[in-house]
Every structure is written in C-alpha cells, then in structure tokens.
Symmetry: C2
Subunit: 170 residues, 2 copies
C-alpha cells in the first residue's frame, strides 16, 4: 500500500506540474492590464454563437469550466468568481458552394472577460482583454483601454455586464 501511495503521489505531482507550466499560452503577450491568454482556450466548451450586422462578423463564445458550470445551471447573475468568457470573432464570408450560408472568413480577434469582483472592481468586476488577428497582438496601449470595454458592457449591467446569453443544448 505504501508503494501504491508513492506511485499515486508521483502521478498527481506530475499532473499538477504539467497544469502549472501550461496555464498560459506563452507565445502570446499579456494585455496592458496584466491578463494572459488562457492556454487551451480553443478546447473550451460552447456557451453561444452570434453574428453582428453592423461590422460583418460572426463569433463563437466559449467558457472555462467555471463559466460552463454556471451557464448550464443558469447561475450567471452574477457569474461566479473565476469565470472566463471567450469570444472568437471572424469576418463573414459567403460559402463558395452555398450562397446563403455565411461562414467565418479572416480571423478578427479573440476577447476574454475574467470575473473577479475585487480585483476588477473599477471595471464592473470583470477584467477585459483582446488579442488582435492571427498574430494575437494585445489590444490597448495602456490599461485604460478597459474603459472602452466597460462603456459598451455597462449597457447590460443588469446582466452582470455580459451580453452573451448562454444557449441550452438538449
């Protein structure tokens, strides 16, 4: 049994080490307000989709496991601490073989909102970040860029500053 416990300890320590070293995508620079691009974001689960007629884009909205749990149980007002919502945004383009299907064209940007009511108190409890294009350049010269984000998101203060309405998947 002692050997078993030792083996299990080694396994757990290995798992923790791997998690710790891969917590952020290291090639992508953090935003001016100190937010890192989460590694593995593209494998997060779906919260919703949407498209916009004013800027000709479409997007998929994903969530980390805290956000997904909240979204699927309807506990999103407020979203729990640690929730991260991610938007992947593309320009629209017409499907070459189906003229009424509008599909993702060039990648525009990825955006995240990180919930921490105390840390991000000055911006409604959410930390905002955006990375532009395929090269994932952080948006914003200094951390005041968050005010821009907040200006729009304040319109949905009643929904904890979140526009996204989680879909129900049967």
């Amino acid at each position: 049994m002692k050997k078993t416990m030792t083996l299990l300890k080694i396994i757990f320590i290995s798992i923790i080490s791997v998690s710790a070293t891969s917590a952020f995508a290291k090639k992508v620079s953090p935003t001016a307000n100190g937010i890192h691009y989460p590694a593995g974001l593209k494998n997060w689960h779906v919260i919703a989709s949407s498209y916009r007629t004013d800027n000709n884009t479409q997007r998929v909205i994903l969530g980390n496991h805290i956000a997904i749990k909240a979204a699927r149980s309807g506990a999103t007002n407020p979203w729990p601490r640690g929730s991260i919502l991610a938007k992947l945004v593309w320009k629209n383009t017409t499907h070459p073989d189906w003229s009424t299907a509008i599909i993702p064209g060039n990648f525009v940007h990825s955006e995240i909102m990180v919930k921490n009511a105390s840390k991000y108190k000055s911006t409604g409890g959410w930390g905002y970040a955006r990375w532009i294009g395929n090269s994932q350049q952080p948006y914003g010269k200094d951390k005041s860029f968050s005010k821009e984000c907040l200006a729009c998101h304040s319109q949905v203060k009643k929904d904890d500053f979140v526009f996204t309405r989680p879909v129900k998947i049967p």
Copy 2:
C-alpha cells in the same frame, strides 16, 4: 508492485465501464438508419460557426476527437473513419440590448454526420442523422431520409461531401 498493478487495473476497468455505459445519450431515440445521438456531444470542441440567410438560422459546428484532430491538421479530404461532425442549429433572434447582434433563439435541431466509407457507402461514406427540437425527435420515417441529406451534400462531393470549412483558431 502487484498491489499497485491490481489497483491500477481496477481504476482502468472503472474508467472503461463508465465510458461504455455513457457512449450514447439513452433518452434520445436513434434515427431510422440506426444512428445514435452521441453522449457528451455538447462538450465537443469547435470546428466552425455559420449562419444562413435563407432560413434565418445560426449554428455551431462541433467535432468528436477524431474530427477535431483531422480539422486542426488539415487532413479532411477525405475525413478519417470515425469522424463525427455535429451541427447545433438555432433560429436567429435579435439581442434585446444590442440591435445589430443576432443571437440564438429557439433551438431547431442537432445534426450529425458519421464517417464510415464502407458502412455508409450508398450515401457517400457518411451516415446522416438529425434530431428535431428540444425533444430531440429523430428525423425521417424510414432510412430513405438519408437521400435527402445526400442530395444537398453531393454539391460538395469534391470536399468529401462536407460543407463545413474548419476555422483556424490562433
């Protein structure tokens, strides 16, 4: 060491048992061509999004792990055996607080395509299935419904009968 191996065997057998019993969503009936609704589909990873201007819908396209691996490595013509592509489709509705944002409204249906060149030879190597609405009623009175699917998908025979073009996520 013997005890360790026994313990590990128990762990692995438990994992396999859980996987086997949850391979299909048991509440959902299979389609007339014998295709089951895959359990855990809503946690599959994103392949693309799209919306259609002819029927006022938007969708997210997900893939099982075989499809995701193929999509992300560009090995999709043909898609490998065992690939499953899933479309989750909603009617469009306008965001109540942002008039140019079009978001998912009522759930329309889920659809999957299962790749098996021999099993589904008569329908281009893909097995088609659709489940309607939140109640997930199988579409098609008998298995001839697949011909309907094939009629449209034949337009993209050059792309292994798949309309979806996987996105690249940075």
